[in-house]
């Protein structure tokens, strides 16, 4: 069995969201559904120095994440209708649209906010790593779109051999939870997964 995954070079990303929009265009997603989210994580505090000046330690950084087609996916065992399965062929975790009732449980259980419920179709949807493009020998559209060339795609073993194993970072959860097929090269600003000094500061843009 093959297992595909993404590589995200967080050290290059500047949060432009071209990956997200390229995906939404290719997959014809509406305004309320996104297969790839870009999280803004920021924090810091200001000190009034009392002399008309300020000091601060503000920071921000971005993380682009889609479905990681986890080895131990949180969504799968929690699906009340048993619609989700993991493919033997390419490792994709997908839901059977005939069985799915669009109940939102997968959305709520996924620690990466990867699935969305398409309200019109009444089913959950998610990144399939551009199956139709892969069938033509092409990269997923987000990889080809990134201005900073911060995304790569491939067999996860090859990605790990090429880029090293991932350094997972806030606001993502501990990778031990679901064993995501995601390799990240961390930004110099990245903080550990248990960081509490920042928060996701674009919550209304995450869907």
């Amino acid at each position: 069995m093959a297992q595909y995954g993404f590589y995200f070079d967080q050290s290059r990303c500047f949060g432009c969201k071209t990956c997200e929009q390229a995906c939404k265009d290719f997959h014809n997603l509406g305004t309320t559904v996104t297969f790839r989210n870009v999280f803004e994580y920021s924090g810091g505090a200001w000190t009034d120095n009392g002399d008309g000046t300020y000091s601060q330690n503000a920071f921000k950084y971005y993380t682009s994440v889609s479905c990681n087609h986890c080895d131990d996916p949180a969504c799968l065992p929690n699906c009340p209708s048993g619609a989700i399965s993991k493919s033997e062929e390419d490792g994709l975790v997908m839901n059977d649209k005939e069985i799915c009732i669009g109940c939102n449980t997968c959305v709520l259980t996924c620690p990466y906010t990867a699935p969305s419920v398409d309200e019109d179709a009444g089913v959950a949807v998610r990144c399939d790593m551009c199956a139709s493009r892969r069938a033509e020998g092409k990269q997923p559209i987000c990889v080809e779109a990134c201005l900073a060339r911060a995304l790569d795609f491939g067999e996860i073993g090859e990605l790990r051999a090429k880029y090293g194993d991932s350094a997972h970072v806030a606001p993502l959860p501990d990778k031990a939870n679901t064993a995501p097929n995601l390799v990240i090269k961390a930004s110099v600003r990245a903080l550990p997964t248990d960081d509490t000094t920042g928060s996701i500061t674009n919550p209304l843009e995450i869907m």
């Binding site: 432009c16 810091g44 505090a45 000046t53 990466y112 996701i200």
Partner: protein
Amino acid sequence: MTSTVQSGFSRRTFVKGSTLGALGLTLGAAGAGSLFGCSSTEGDAPTVDETPESIVWNHCAVNCGCACALQCHVKGDEIVYIESDNLGDGALGSSQARACLKGRAIRRWLQSPDRLNYPMKRKEGTKRGDGEYEQISWDEAIDLLYEKLKYTIDTYGNEAVHFHYSSGVCSGAMMLGYSVKRLFNLIGGCLNYYGTYSSAQLTAGTTYTYGGGNGGSSLGTIQEGQLVVMFGNNPAITRMGGGGLGHDFPYMMETKKPKLIIIDYRMNNSLANQGGEWIPIRPGTDGALCAALAYVFITNGYTDEEFLSKYCVGYDEKTLPEGAAANSSFKAYILGEGPDGTPKTPEWAAAITQIPAKRIEDLGHEMGKADPVFICQGKGPQRHSNGEITTRMIMVLPQLLGQIGKPGTSDGRETGTTSLPLGIMPIGTNPVTTNIPCFMWPAAIRDMKSFTPLNSGLRGAETVDTNIKFIFNYAGNCLTNQHSDINTTHDLLQDESLVEFIVTSEVFMTDSAKYSDLILPDQTTQEQVDVVALSGGEIEEILFAQPVYEPKFERRGIYEVCCDLAEKFGVLDEFTDGGKTREDWCKSIYETFRESYPDAPTWEDGVAMGIWKTGNVPAPIVKLQAFVEDPEANPLPTPSGKIDIYSTTLADFAATWELAEDEVISPIPEFDPGFESYVNVTDEYPLLIAGFHHRSTTHSSYANNEIIQTAVRHQAWINPADAEPRGIKDGDMVAITTARGEIRIEAKVTPLIIPGAVGLAQGMWHNADMNGDRVDHGGCINTLTTERPSPLAKANPQHSNIGQVTKVV
């Protein structure tokens, strides 16, 4: 259906401690689905579509400074999806003009049901701005346009005809409505304007310092590990195309690993994942910081005295030009030996800039000791009421340090970029020489007859005999939305006794279009043939653009419309240069280019290829290198032939121009707070309201494409120190007011902005009941901005506003 959580499972307990849990349950609230009739789901149960798919190349043409490739996958007469430049190697550092999120989302914009499809004239009995129109035929439209234009010229003369400032179509051989200018130039001409809403103050600053030109060195000259200091600059976003700085900036940061410092009132996206230090500054006070840095340089011996005496005029008393007063040099000003008697110490600047004196002093030492140091500015600092003088203050820093003309340096201007030298359709010569600042057109509607060179920046004439009576607005939103003080401009444009006729050629009903008497439905660049040098960074590619589908409805390109009008005026043959079509012009422009690039493909081969890349990596720009190497052989186009730290031209303006008490023109760079600055805040208006360029729009272009706007929200940035006393929480709806008007917008409560300032992305579409309360629910910054021009360039000070923010209950 309504999404409900049907199991007893709690997401929050599952993600235990995960910071993603803090996101909350925003997901169940998904709305009514998709726009534009597109399914919001992926094609999991595809109906087999046998329509053959073709690839058509075109380009994004809005005014971000880039031109990026759109590889359109077309079925029948619709785009199904967009790819961009994926030719050749995709690695960081390779040449690909990848479109940003805006270009990637262009399908929904092109397919929007809100497109303009038919010629329309304003309904009888309605006023400009009401937005009520009735469809007419193209024959009627051309007849009406001809009649009104002819009447204007016959009655008021060609100076009364204004080709309005615009930038909605800003790349390609046929860009900027040059068809209209070419036609006007054949029928007696039209009023000229100078400067741009983007950079007029910067242009003024560079003109009187270096002899003109806004571009400095390119990022490519930055050396490994060196110091880079940027003022009000966000290169990753403002020119974010993948063939522009959206590629070149992260590439530079990764390969050169410089010590980056950005001075800005917001922590912008160029200070995100690749690091760098943010020095927050109070908006409009960059000049004070620069003065204090100069003080540190001078008092610590960091100044390059040889450079200053050999290449510059007016640094100290020794190099002051003849006739300059004693103690009028820059050095005298900084040390407090000039008329104001104030040494510009770090302590002096700290209270103005809100930057601790220690950080200013340390930065001065750091810059003073660095070799090389790359110093540049974005266009933020200049878009203020003190913009011109501030740009000169920034430019003086590398002059003081002699950090100009060698690798790793810039000369304090903005980031330089390159592109292949492909021409555009020639516009001929305007018989009218009268030339006004581009921002001054409302005053020219009211009373251009009162304009003089001394009171209004009038050029090319000593007086004018008419006011503006006719406006041709091509692909522009500067009648209201992108001009300042919309409420005042609304009243001005509604008065039909002033401007008698307004025609707009557009693809959407913009706020500006609503003020037109006649609307012509344009085709977008993507719907027409074109040729373009892809640009925005260090890139050498030509794109051969073909229409993505046949013309729809009654939309017509501006060149063809101008052909009809030219025929009416009896100048069709001259206008078309003997019968050239739009495609013929593109071909002839390309053939001229090919004379210098013999390896370039034929037109036909180019069209088949889509994009031709030279394969060269352009040499980095090192600005003023030739001048520094041999100043006698390569003098600057300034009065002195050198760098004018002291400008005799500005000294003359300062002595003769009619200025208000709070307007300063100075022969040397100085700090002047300008009007509507931090010194003007009141109890009623205690905050500084400034704009910025967001990644979701290019000015107002694409701001109506909801697919992007929901992904990158339009919000007012406000520091917790200002939000908390006002009871404002992140995501709250707030009202922002100035003396000009009121907007409503969502708050982003964030430590990423300095206290005392509010940051608003410019470009959102004005949306107010103009016959009612005029509250702008679209959140357009120009409901709030002043139409008072800056003193020297007479340009838009759209980042200089005092205002207030309150929570909407």
